[in-house]
């Protein structure tokens, strides 16, 4: 029973991070209509930039490193859009997908050139977890949970109550009508990249804090985010958030039944099930942000 509650907690922690990845990925899909394979590298870049700022010679605090890393990833996403995606604005979605795959490989290899393929970890001292009833949780994990929760809450406030956030939903819902009322789609697209980059970078830093970091960490997390996006219905931000938690929980509860080596296969398994039986997602595409 103890292991069940522990897995539940681990699932929630992982799920809260996957929710951030998935929300950004689905937001880009909803407004630009392609699956951005390089979203994984925004995650990876967040983790590596935070690592860069925390390690010698800079030795900044985790908070400051996080802020600088998120800023760096936002700039990277805007650069990606400016140099690659904006030139393909009206192109076939398949072309955009392949371009993003190319960017993804480029950035992975760039990271490998700069940092090597070695698995690294943030320079946090080893911690003894605090015991709460049947579960053990470290202070890093507590921080992860509240940072993820705060980020999701801010995303909700932005999309639901801000004028620009509503325009983002309007463009995702009906781009021609949004233009009719004077919404400039290029401006909204830039906002979407900023939001998606913040979500990816925060998530990437958190996942690295919870586990470790290496140049190919983007891909495995992209698969999870993709599964979560499909669960929620492509383009549906609220659905993607819930999908993230479902993936996190099923990975961590699944290994109670399956050998641990199958953990990464669970997201693939869910992708196949959803595509076979409910390609529109559990909640349908026309819900939530749209």
């Amino acid at each position: 029973m103890t292991i069940f509650f522990q897995s539940l907690l681990d699932g929630l922690i992982a799920g809260s991070i996957y929710a951030l990845f998935a929300a950004g990925l689905t937001l880009v899909y909803g407004t630009l209509h392609f699956i951005n394979f390089a979203h994984g590298e925004l995650i990876m870049a967040g983790a590596f930039l935070a690592y860069l700022f925390m390690m010698p010679p800079l030795l900044l605090s985790p908070l400051l490193s996080g802020i600088f890393a998120v800023t760096g990833v936002v700039l990277l996403a805007l650069l990606m859009d400016k140099t690659v995606f904006s030139r393909l604005r009206n192109a076939n979605p398949l072309l955009l997908l392949i371009a993003s795959l190319g960017l993804s490989l480029l950035l992975q290899n760039l990271a490998q050139v700069l940092w090597g393929a070695k698995i690294r970890a943030f320079p946090f001292p080893l911690q003894r977890g605090k015991v709460f009833g049947p579960v053990v949780i470290t202070s890093v994990q507590i921080t992860i949970l509240w940072v993820a929760a705060l980020t999701i809450f801010l995303l909700y406030l932005f999309l639901k109550f801000s004028r620009i956030g509503k325009a983002v939903r309007g463009v995702a819902d009906n781009p021609v009508l949004a233009k009719t009322f004077g919404v400039e789609s290029e401006k909204i697209i830039r906002i979407v990249w900023v939001v998606a980059a913040i979500l990816a970078a925060v998530g990437g830093i958190l996942v690295a804090a919870d586990t470790n970091l290496e140049p190919h960490m983007g891909i495995v997390n992209l698969v999870r985010a993709f599964a979560a996006v499909l669960i929620g219905g492509a383009g549906n931000v609220w659905g993607a958030l819930i999908g993230g938690f479902i993936i996190g929980l099923s990975e961590n509860l699944g290994v109670l039944l399956l050998p641990i080596g199958y953990k990464d296969a669970i997201a693939f398994f869910i992708i196949i099930l959803i595509l076979l039986f409910r390609p529109e997602g559990l909640f349908g595409t026309r819900w939530g942000v749209r």
Binding site: A178, K179, F181, G182, R286, W287
Partner: protein, 247 residues
Amino acid sequence: MESSRPLLSLDALTTGYQRMQVLSGLHLTVNPSEIVSIIGPNGAGKSTVLKAIYGFLAPWEGVVRFRGEDISHLPVVARVKKGMILVHQNDNIFSGLTLHENLEMGGYLIARGSLLKERIDSVYEQFPFLYKKRRQAARVLSGGERQLLAIGMALVSEPELILLDEPSMGLAPRMMARIFEWVGRIHEMGKSILMVEQNARQALAISHRGYVLDLGKNRFEGRATDLLEDPKVLSLYLGGENSHENL
């Protein structure tokens, strides 16, 4: 009705899509507080006229003027700011947004929150059913209600000129009558209206002037009452004189 300067004028407008020319040398004016209808057979380019006026389509030749100013090459957003708004014939609401959020999008360019709220409240006064359903997603609305929401969204921006693309499209006769009644009421609020309509008779019945478009060219134009009695217009575009009695 005749004013010294028209609100909107098209001067020898030629445009189209890619290599397909749709409009050739079109002339059209809308004077302040006038209702003008564009009628004509399917494929005459009626909706294209509205797209060109609104900036969704660039002119190949000719000029679009608003209050005397050449706006031919301004982007859509600049034209909205000058005081015009287009109501599309379909897909004219944000189906996933609530009714209230739809109205807020209608006033997207109104930066001041208090002013936006005031405008939305006045739309709620005119369409109380919108207020009742304001927290529901717009997809729950019926066809006629959608059309009224779309008109409500256009009113939030307080335009001088409203471009209506087939407002009665696909509606039941009773709802159609209600939409035309609303067009009249919006006119009473002091707005000018340029309307493209398939239901030519009903459109002309509430209009001051009309244009008959065929194959992208001006065929007839004049006071709406004159067009409704012109034998050529009647037989070619209004389904003959006999059907006049039936309607």
